[in-house]
Structure formats: structure tokens, C-alpha cells
């Protein structure tokens, strides 16, 4: 079996998974809670179907790829924004510190993205594709940086993730890591190496689809208050605190 047919097989599996995800999102009426993610998922399905249909038409495939990737990257950033809004609205007390640290992180990420763009100029003869890949790499840097910030921030504050939002963020993170690595190392690869990276990239996207599906279908975890301390122990604690107040 050639690597090319492996790519097509993995891509076909991805199409089925994307269809299942879109159906799940629509059936669960997720657009009310996460409209941008629904648009992102449906657009990915649409893009994949179009690209699959255009596989044998090189010129049309190229333009569809350029347009599709541009929109997909923009939608990916929009989903990150949606996750931020959704998560931090729950904790108004953290808004100030969130805003301050977010501005700092965004500034650093934009600097890194600009450095990525600057390090690859001037663009060679295959200008349009190279420019698109370059902008995608820069956008992925920002996207991944923001997702990482989100995980680190949530972990520092011990905040609780909703099941579905955690799944979306995790899937997006995995997919973005692999895409960013692929975009970064691709220029240094031989044609066969580049094809292998394509397979890994598509596999990573399929993995993200499975994560999204899994987290969407899994029931929300019930918060367990049963493992809290025994009453006698708690009374003791209360007593100690009261003594502290009165001393």
C-alpha cells in the first residue's frame, strides 16, 4: 500500500468522523452554547468534502486549499476566542488578572508571529502558496500560544473545566500542535518526508475529531461532594477557626 493511498484512507475516515461530529453537534443543539465551534466543525466538513472531490483537479484543488485554509485558520482563532469568553465569564473576579496576563501573552505571541513571517521573507517563486503557509504558521503560533496560556492559567487557578469545553480545547490543541510542527519542519523535508508529515497531520486531525466526539457524547461529570470531610472533623476545624477569630 502506497503512502498516498494511506493519506486518502485516513482522509476518508476523517470525513466520516467529521460527518458524525457535525450530526452530533446539530442533534445536541450545541450552536446555542458554542456557535463558532459549530460553524468551525461544519466548515471543516464542507472543506474536506470539496477538497476530496477536487483531488484530481490540481488547479482547482490549489485555490480551494488556499481559500479553505485561510477561512479554517480564521475560524480556529474565533473558536479560541469563544472558549476564552465562555470560560472567563464564569469568573468575574479573575477578569482583571486575566485581561492583564492575556494582553502580555498576546503581545509576545504577535511578536513571535511577526518574527516567523520575517524569517521566511523574501518569498520565492511559488509565492501564493508559500505566503499562505507562512501566514498559517504565524496564525497557528498565536492560536497554540493562546490555548497553552488557557491551560496554564486554568491549572494555576485550579478552575473547573466543563466537559465539552475541555474536549474542544484539548482537540484543538492537539490538532494545532501537529499542524504547527508540520508547517515548521515541512520546508526542510524531502518529498517522501513531506508526505509522511501529511499523513501524521491528517491522523492528528482525526484524533482531534475523536476527542471532540467523545467529549460531546460523554455525560457531564457530576461534582462529587461525598468525599468531603466527616462532620466531626469539620466541626473541629470550625472550632479552630472561631478560636482564631476571637483571640
Amino acid at each position: 500500500m502506497s503512502l498516498q493511498s494511506v493519506v486518502q484512507g485516513v482522509w476518508a475516515i476523517g470525513l466520516v468522523l467529521q460527518f458524525l461530529l457535525a450530526a452530533t453537534l446539530l442533534a445536541k443543539k450545541t450552536w446555542g452554547k458554542l456557535p463558532l465551534f459549530v460553524v468551525y466543525a461544519v466548515f471543516n466538513l464542507f472543506e474536506s468534502v470539496v477538497m476530496y472531490a477536487l483531488l484530481s483537479h490540481r488547479a482547482a484543488y490549489f485555490y480551494a486549499y488556499v481559500a479553505g485554509e485561510t477561512i479554517a485558520v480564521a475560524l480556529g482563532l474565533a473558536v479560541v476566542y469563544e472558549i476564552f469568553i465562555r470560560l472567563f465569564l464564569l469568573y468575574p473576579g479573575l477578569q482583571r488578572v486575566t485581561r492583564l496576563s492575556l494582553y502580555g501573552v498576546v503581545a509576545v505571541l504577535i511578536l513571535l508571529a511577526v518574527a516567523v513571517l520575517a524569517s521566511h521573507t523574501p518569498i520565492g517563486q511559488n509565492g501564493v502558496l508559500q505566503a499562505v503557509l507562512l501566514v498559517e504558521e504565524a496564525a497557528r503560533v498565536v492560536e497554540l500560544g493562546l490555548l497553552t496560556f488557557l491551560f496554564v492559567f486554568y491549572s494555576l487557578f485550579g478552575l473547573h473545566w466543563r466537559q465539552s469545553v475541555f474536549g474542544i480545547t484539548l482537540g484543538l490543541g492537539i490538532c494545532t500542535v501537529v499542524k504547527l510542527l508540520a508547517l515548521t519542519v515541512m520546508p526542510y523535508m524531502s518529498p517522501s518526508g513531506a508526505l509522511a508529515i501529511n499523513v501524521i497531520s491528517v491522523l492528528a486531525f482525526d484524533c482531534s475529531l475523536l476527542i471532540w466526539l467523545g467529549y460531546m457524547l460523554a455525560p457531564e461529570r457530576v461534582i462529587n461532594t461525598g468525599e468531603l470531610p466527616q462532620r466531626a472533623q469539620l466541626e473541629q476545624w470550625n472550632q479552630a477557626i472561631m478560636e482564631l477569630i476571637n483571640q
Binding site: E227, L228, L244
Partner: protein, 171 residues
Amino acid sequence: MITMLVIALALGALAVLYAAVRSRRTSSNKGIRHVDVPALRTLMDREDEEFLRNRLPRARFTRLKRKRIMVTFRYVGRISANTAVVMRLGESVRFHSDPAVAQTAVQITELAAQIRLQCLVAFAKLSAEFAMPSLQLTPATLVPKYQTLRENVMRLGALETQNVAPAAVAI
């Protein structure tokens, strides 16, 4: 150079994702743990520290202070973990049908978030003191805020006994 930076960012992100999945598995089972507040106060008492500083040889005092800091670290860690549990509980009842319960839940969540932030500052200060034991940077505002949190959680417990009663007693 830039390529290496981007690869480092990607690999770092992968590590963070892995850590997030691992911590999610364990954190959901955590409950509120006992915090001996008087003991914490004693550990943070500067007079006590001054007494030890004046009585003990420098090397011994440094060793002892580092031990005290390690114990204080554990206490602050517990408070920090407890506030995370309170925030989780607060979030679970913030959309309660009773507006009073929902409002108290919001207040608790916010206060818990502030304490958590203070715990981070406390960790930084304690780390600095651990590195340089001659410093005196005890986070003195942590205990009073924790006390306010306790009162608010008690209030919530009175309003919504089913969900948060154990936490209300515990805090």
C-alpha cells in the same frame, strides 16, 4: 533560531496538554482538606521568628526557617486546593433557580478566586524567603480573606443545603 523557538513552543504546548489531561483525572476526585489555621498563624508569626532569630545561631536559624517555610507552603497549598473545590462547588450552583443561592455562589466563587490569586502571591513570596531566609515577606492578608470565604460558604450552605452543605461546614 525562530524555527527552534516555534518547535519549542509546540513541544511545550504538548507537555501542557498532557499535564492538563492528567490533572483533570485526579482533580475531580479532590475534596476539601483540613487546614489548621492557628498553626498557620503561628508559622506566620513574625515575633516568633524574631525570637528564634535572636536566640539561635545564624546557620541553625536559617535551617529552621526553611523548615517552617516548607510547612507553611503545605498549609497555603491546602488553602489553595480548598478554594479550587469551593470554586467548583460555587460554579455548580451559580445558575440555581433561587436567586439568593445563585448570588451567594457568585460571591463565593469570586472570593475564592481572589484567595487563589493570593495563594499564588504567597507561593512566590515564600519561595523568595526560602531562597533568602533573611527576608520577611509573609502574606498577612491570606487568613482574614479565607475567613470571609468561610462565612460566605456558610451562608450558601444555609441557603442550599443539598449541594454545598458539607463544604459550608468544612470551610
